[in-house]
Symmetry: C2
Subunit: 400 residues, 2 copies
């Protein structure tokens, strides 16, 4: 009675539940698959035997996964022990055996592919026959070996649209402001940089984790633009490398927990130095949880990737992640391949040097061509009383 198990890992994206949708739909097409299970809270579900039966979900709930924020099964950030004699691995095999799991799908980013890699290695070493396949997901878009990650296009669409709205709101006032918008991305600037592709969201100044950050140059650039234009739109990644001495001194001065990120800190430094009217806006978790701005391309690809993952697992592939490769840009076309998770786990793909232009504050045309096809198209949405309907899984334990 071979069964499949799917789990979600790392930060949610707007289409992580679309991947779940795709796995369930594809798995149901294959009569050789008996159980279709979900692990609650990522790897913890396997470790603690918190497994639910996804065949119990009705069709409407499954359809609503396409527009449900968050990770419907729950997610986790947990690195498996490097030492494979650890109890963790024994617990994992026990759970997999209990449900006769022969196909395991891990939907996550870099760290999750580390889990994928370890489990593939360990299960083979134990001669437990189970195909482990990774399904890529991260709004950071920093997974190696692929053109882009699922979830990134929709987050980019949100960032561009929201910054356009912020700019239009800001320019409504004759006396402008300095506005600092903080976008997610600790080590890679893909998502932050996406705002450049649209004239109304393109900022005056852009700061990314890929480039060094010079506080004096920053302050002088902001001052110059604000005095000239009476407004200044700055967009920056949460991971902009502000030198420690500025962050440290703030923390010490506060003498307590510091909340708000780098935009807040820089707004405060601008206020101190110049007294200019400054507002910081952190896009925060809504940027990865906004079904009404899911890109149609992202949705379609998420479903295709799940189909491909299930089909390849059934063919016996393991220790692989599904990779999206771009075949052409005009028209935009992709193909799916399998990449070795050992080449993906723990790597980070940053924006290549070649895409930056001189000042490092802007990106060249190749970045525009890369991004624009990804954010195209809108999805159909189901509302009830003016608010999006969401799938709430029954979380019923399988009756085995």
């Amino acid at each position: 009675m071979p069964s499949i198990l799917y789990l979600q890992s790392g930060g949610p994206t707007s289409v992580i539940n679309t991947s779940l949708y795709g796995v369930i739909k594809e798995a149901k097409k294959h009569p050789e698959i008996t159980g279709i299970y979900g692990s609650l809270f990522g790897i913890y579900g396997i470790l603690n035997d918190e497994i639910i039966d996804l065949r119990q979900e009705d069709d409407e709930t499954i359809e609503l996964l396409l527009q449900t924020s968050g990770a419907a099964l729950g997610t986790a950030r947990h690195k498996l022990n490097d030492d494979m004699t650890s109890d963790e691995y024994i617990k994992i095999v026990a759970t997999l055996m209990k449900y006769d799991i022969r196909y395991l799908f891990i939907n996550g980013g870099n760290d999750s592919m580390d889990t994928c890699n370890k489990l593939d290695y360990y299960l083979k070493s134990q001669r437990y026959d189970c195909c482990v396949i990774g399904i890529p997901k991260t709004i950071d878009n920093d997974l190696a070996l692929l053109d882009h990650s699922l979830g990134f296009p929709s987050a980019a669409k949100y960032v561009i649209q929201t910054i356009q709205n912020i700019r239009l709101d800001c320019v409504s006032y004759s006396r402008g402001k300095i506005i600092l918008v903080e976008v997610m991305g600790r080590n890679a600037g893909w998502l932050t940089a996406s705002c450049v592709v649209n004239p109304l969201s393109k900022p005056d100044l852009l700061y990314l984790p890929e480039n060094p950050f010079d506080m004096e140059a920053f302050l002088s650039d902001v001052q110059e633009i604000y005095l000239k234009n009476k407004s200044c739109l700055v967009v920056l990644s949460e991971g902009v490398p502000v030198p420690d001495k500025f962050v440290k001194s703030e923390t010490d001065a506060f003498g307590h927990f510091q909340f708000g990120g780098v935009a807040n800190l820089l707004a405060s430094i601008i206020g101190d130095r110049f007294g200019f009217q400054t507002r910081s806006i952190e896009l925060n978790t809504p940027q990865r949880s906004a079904p009404f701005l899911i890109s149609k391309v992202d949705q379609k690809e998420a479903i295709k990737v799940s189909e491909f993952a299930v089909q390849n697992a059934l063919e016996g592939k393991s220790g692989k992640m599904v990779c999206i490769k771009r075949i052409s840009n005009k028209p935009y076309r992709i193909k799916l391949e399998l990449g070795n998770v050992s080449n993906i786990a723990n790597f980070e793909r940053k924006i290549p040097e070649s895409m930056f232009i001189d000042s490092k504050n802007d990106l060249d045309h190749s970045f525009y061509e890369y991004l624009l096809p990804l954010i195209k198209g809108e999805i159909d949405l189901k509302y009830q009383d003016g608010i999006l309907k969401s799938a709430v899984l029954k979380k019923i334990k399988p009756n085995i």
Copy 2:
């Protein structure tokens, strides 16, 4: 050659440009109206003779006003001099005469109705024949004499939807968080309170400007809920009356400009006291500038109110604002009336005591019945390359 002039005032809403759309469309139906003009940056446009010719705009641009963020003509916060011998009034009459403005529409909130009131009084005293009509607008929903303000329903829809998304994102993690969401509203809690009507956006704790704020009770309530549920969702208005001593001491401790509002401050106090993992999310300007969450009811009413405003001005009414009155709830039906701006200017309508239940941390069924019909329905949107198209006015000076 009688002409009309329209101006935008105060903070933008998602439908302020829908009001502009409605005024242009209705005015064009009346052959007796010659010029259709817009004042740039609210009253400043009249003071500085920065008037544009709205008849120059093509049909597509006018249609796109229905989905354009910000105030397309620019807005202002400027209180006219109480002393009507001031130069300001002389400048205003000069501009009105120059363009033969006989109908003036002021689209704004409480303060803007003060402008409406003063101009109506002054122009009558000068025997300058011009009908001054107010078009209500404020996401705060605090205008007197009406059931609700234009812009509030769409902002409420945004707040409810976004808090639902934030909650679904938050509960994806087995180890929960304390999340504090800050909503606009300095003196009235209508917009903040709107989150209670939906099970997924209903917070554990709600704080509004209408009620006193007790720091110790707040901290103890947060602690109790967090320890019990492993998560706590707090929603609060920017104008929650946190006692000065907490705000002051923070400002002093920082020794510099403080950025971020009350949610940030409270998150920092929770962190100090308990060390719990806490995140503050300020919904910020996107809550009033999100065309993709415009309520269909709000859009329809904005157009009707503009039609009614133009029709009544042509009938010689002046010193009035258009008021939305609710006739019935099931089915939801409204009628439009004119109210005296002197009864609206500078008043603030807060949530009535009767809508609160015991703890003041929740609202009773009458609030649900009040709000639910307002957020219903979604509007059609036009995208280009995955991003909403926006109207950019030509801002051409009239050729008179």
